[in-house]
């Protein structure tokens, strides 16, 4: 009997690390430069009443000219809109003013009264990308080209000021929280040089990838290859769907996600081999948040990078654990055909979206967190209903 050919020699650690670093840089840069089309619709009843009345009274040309928005528009918290202003209150009045002061939208009412407001192109009239306006725009004196809001904005839900300094502190706190979730402590962040830590914030403000990458390369783990699954576990594994064989795959229960008090095992406990410290599969858990539509509370859960079998945790296995009602395990005797042939059967009821792109169900969560996480180190996935 012929012996099987010997496997090719594994690449050296240096080569693997360099390849992973290159791969991570490519995806992080793509994510950094990515733009998504945003359509914002403001309902008249979402604005403060005095604003509408005051504007209507002051401006004899009245309402259709001042906004051009249809009366029955859905508010921003539409189920199809998963983009949310995080931790900084989205100043609706200011945003509304900025959008309407844009040349595209200001000439819009000449064409059609009931067209939704559209903002095309990244630069706004203030020269800042729109995403920075959404997240970081402080309440400060505005340029002359932007008319001031007619009424003070509604009070924020939390008494946070929206100064740049407050945003910076909140951003650094998010970095630390993500690091705490990854490693169980914040030693990596607190051990950074001050310039590197500040570079994370300065890079976002200046939209400078190089500055931000100095921080990312030291904190966010690399997408090193997943550790090999032990042979014994491979033999014991069934032939079914790999995601359904995961230990993290839940039994669908009719209860929403609830607080657990059990401590899940460390992902590397079941592996016989030690993982490199900078591997995305060596972390304790992955900082991840799921955003549901229609103002449902965000979902945050502990996500181990590897399941009990030592395989990378896939997105669908995590979704079935965290949101079993929206991502049920398809019944084996039920035909999984859908009306839409392009829709994945695993996403029959809802679809996870990352930067406007549907994420494949078999994507490894650890890889996503290492390569396409947000600038604050969190992996934020929106869920869109079918």
């Amino acid at each position: 009997m012929n012996a099987p050919p010997p496997p090719p020699p594994p690449p050296t650690d240096t080569t693997t690390r360099a390849q992973s670093q290159s791969q991570a840089s490519v995806f992080r840069l793509l994510t950094w430069n990515a733009t998504i089309p945003v359509e914002i619709r403001l309902a008249r009843d979402s604005l403060p009443q005095e604003t509408t009345q005051q504007r209507g009274g002051d401006d004899g040309e009245h309402e259709e000219e001042e906004d051009g928005l249809p009366r029955d528009e859905q508010p921003v918290a539409d189920s199809s809109c998963w983009l949310r202003g995080r931790h900084w209150s989205l100043d609706m009045i200011q945003l509304w003013t900025i959008i309407n002061s844009h040349p595209v939208s200001s000439s819009r009412h000449q064409h059609h009264q009931h067209e939704p407001t559209q903002h095309r192109g990244t630069p706004s009239s203030t020269g800042s990308p729109l995403r920075l306006i959404l997240h970081l725009k402080p309440r400060q004196p505005q340029p002359a080209s932007i008319p001031p809001p007619a009424a003070p904005p509604p009070p924020p839900a939390t008494p946070l000021s929206n100064s740049i300094e407050t945003c910076r502190i909140a951003f650094i706190s998010l970095l630390k929280e993500a690091d705490y979730i990854r490693w169980g402590n914040t030693r990596r962040i607190t051990g950074l040089r001050r310039a590197d830590l500040e570079g994370a914030w300065e890079g976002v403000v200046d939209h400078n990838y190089e500055t931000h990458a100095r921080f990312t390369s030291k904190i966010v783990p690399l997408p090193l290859p997943a550790p090999p699954v032990p042979v014994a576990q491979q033999a014991g594994k069934g032939k079914g769907d790999s995601s359904s064989s995961s230990a993290t795959t839940p039994t669908p229960t009719p209860t929403p996600a609830k607080t657990t008090t059990t401590t899940p095992p460390h992902p590397a406990e079941n592996l016989g081999t030690a993982l490199p410290a900078e591997s995305c599969y060596a972390v304790r858990s992955i900082p991840l948040k799921l955003y549901l539509p229609d103002n449902a509370p965000e979902v945050q859960d502990i996500v181990n990078p590897l399941n009990a079998n030592g395989e990378p945790t896939t997105l669908i296995s995590f979704l079935r654990q965290a949101l079993p009602l929206l991502f049920p395990v398809p019944a084996p005797d039920r035909d999984t055909d859908t009306d839409d042939p392009t829709r994945d059967p695993a996403y029959a009821l809802a679809t996870p979206v990352l930067y406007g792109v549907v994420v494949p169900p078999e994507a490894a969560v650890a890889w996503l967190a290492a390569c396409v996480c947000a600038p604050d180190g969190w992996l934020r996935i929106g869920v869109v209903l079918a």
Binding site: H87, A157, T158, P159, L160, I169, A170, S173, L174, K176, E177, D179, Y180, I181, N185, T186, P254, T255, P256, A257, K258, T259, T260, T261, T262, T263, P264, L292, P293, D294, N295, A296, P297, E298, V299, Q300, D301, I302, L323, L325, L326, R334, D335, T336, D337, T338, D339, A348, L349, A350, L385, A386
Partner: protein
């Protein structure tokens, strides 16, 4: 399309029903432990139960009330002396971050 395949309207209804279930906030409570750091006054009682669906802002407000501090007095809160959560973080999520242990503030 197969006869067993759910229609688009059935899927939509099921998705809406699932979303309604996730909108319901949990009513369970978690135990938190306050630990004074620096010049913060020492509290007589350190362990409290708080509803998990509350925002962290509620914890801060409760702490101010316990300490009888004015709203303008500076108060810094940290989880396990590691990071300062955002006021709109849910207590349940922070409880999970600490992996079921008491989280210190």
């Amino acid at each position: 399309m197969s006869q067993n395949s759910p229609t688009e309207s059935e899927r939509s209804a099921a998705a809406e029903e699932a979303l309604r279930a996730y909108k319901k906030l949990p009513d369970n409570k978690v135990v938190i432990r306050f630990k004074s750091v620096g010049s913060a006054p020492i509290m007589k009682q350190n362990f409290f139960k708080i509803t998990a669906s509350h925002k962290f802002q509620a914890v801060v407000q409760f702490l101010r009330k316990e300490l009888r501090w004015k709203p303008t007095d500076p108060l810094f809160t940290y989880i396990n002396s590691s990071f300062a959560p955002a006021p709109d973080d849910s207590v349940a999520a922070l409880f999970k971050v600490t992996r079921g242990n008491l989280f210190h503030t």
